[in-house]
Symmetry: C2
Subunit: 269 residues, 2 copies
């Protein structure tokens, strides 16, 4: 673990990351001392920091810290957090701009290996995501909605919960982005009002564009989801998981999800 | 500063308070080693912990920790944070229930002393509070909306910013609750969809009830606010600040705000 470039696993109780969730983060899969898609994650970190007015260290500085971490721990789930750092008492952001950078790594995930092939059982969470255009898309540290949504799934057989907004649009999974294949078009929810825009979502969108697959970013209702030819959830750790079960609907084959998964895997073999 | 009862100013980077803002807090005024309205703050802490499923330590344990803190630092702004503690990777709350308790104290606030008498200049923030009934009223650590709202006020002459929800209801200040006196009735915004329910808000409501002042908790629109006979914002640190200026409207006297202020001050002299 690294805090501001030095080995350590502690931060100040006056860090605004703790006090207000005033920071951003990313979760990255590391294999053989290589962090998958690090440049894309850095772009997102930088984008999210700018959106919140947080100083994002240069790519070279973060890359060096990441390499230090991976030298000691070559495999696992890397988490990088950038907070606005410490400041005076009160909500107003300090002018100093001295952000805090935290690196942590956890063991590789222990998900059943056949999920990418056989698909998962999805279900709807009761909690509705709130609309906040100033924070939508940003992977910030205000994640209580995800916590409450994930808590709904404890002791259920649901592998991933889907979240709707207050207008009944399906937005994302508790820890993933969502794609729907409908009559040959790939559709993913619009995230301009709520939700987190993940790196893996961008990669799927990019893949579709490069492979001339029609793509739409728009609102998706619950009923429309059940008409889908395929559904899948994605994130940087799980990759792509097709949905085999949602409500009364079952899906048996996921040829397009598989095609995209193999396409993306091939690019970073 | 205390962390889990021991002197210290550091917490683990794996604490869910940092990772997800998964915790609650309160801010308390301490004078001469006495924390004002501590029993009310404890009630709120307990209520908010229960709402989020976080284990709240017994009152006796927290009171002892508070006394330890005030023995060393008799005056200032006390902050107590209770987080869900550490857990496995992922949003789902751990079963363990081992929460983290953090105490901190800052110097007494340096606000101009005449604000309670002469009133403040208020203004509207552009940011709209998002509706989330599962989190409304709770003083949790997901405070990015307050940070963004407070940032709007930097380099302005506005002493406190008022926040509306997406339906144009006025909800609260960036760091305070709001009251309006309208034709002899005290009105404060309904907080069932968003906002933070402060201890000082409860005290004013309680005072009105005990003093037979008509009171309503309901939605308040921007236009109605300008019709008010008096407006004031409250929190545990500032007490009661009347608003002397909002948009084009000016108020010169605040007899009811003063009456309530002196009533509340007298109760805890």
């Amino acid at each position: 673990m690294l805090v501001n470039g030095k080995q350590g696993n502690l931060i100040s109780i006056r860090d605004r990351g703790l006090l207000y969730g005033d920071g951003v983060f990313r979760t990255i899969l590391a294999i053989n001392s290589k962090a998958r898609h690090w440049p894309l994650h850095y772009q997102k970190l930088k984008h999210d920091c700018i959106a919140l007015g947080i100083t994002c260290p240069d790519a070279a500085i973060l890359s060096n810290q990441l390499n230090d971490l991976l030298e000691e721990y070559p495999d696992g789930v890397v988490k990088v957090i950038i907070t606005r750092g410490e400041g005076e008492r009160g909500y107003a952001p300090p002018i100093s701009g001295k952000s805090t950078v935290i690196w942590d790594i956890s063991p590789p995930p222990a998900y059943p290996e056949d999920r990418a092939e056989k698909g998962i059982k999805a279900g709807y969470c009761k909690l509705r995501l709130s609309n906040q255009p100033h924070l939508a898309g940003i992977k910030h540290l205000n994640r209580l909605e995800n916590v409450l949504a994930a808590a709904e799934l404890i002791d259920t057989e649901v592998d991933e919960g889907l979240l709707m907004d207050e207008n009944d649009n399906v937005i994302e999974g508790t820890r993933s982005n969502l794609f729907m294949l409908l009559e040959g078009t790939l559709v993913t929810p619009d995230l301009s009002q709520c939700g987190v825009a993940g790196v893996q979502r961008d990669r799927v969108i990019d893949w579709a564009t490069r492979n001339d697959m029609p793509l739409q970013v728009r609102d998706i209702g619950q009923e429309e989801l059940l008409l889908a030819d395929e559904l899948f959830v994605v994130n940087s750790i799980i990759g792509i998981w097709p949905i085999r079960e949602l409500d009364q609907r079952r899906w048996m084959d996921f040829p397009v999800a598989k095609q995209i998964r193999m396409g993306l895997d091939g690019e970073y073999a």
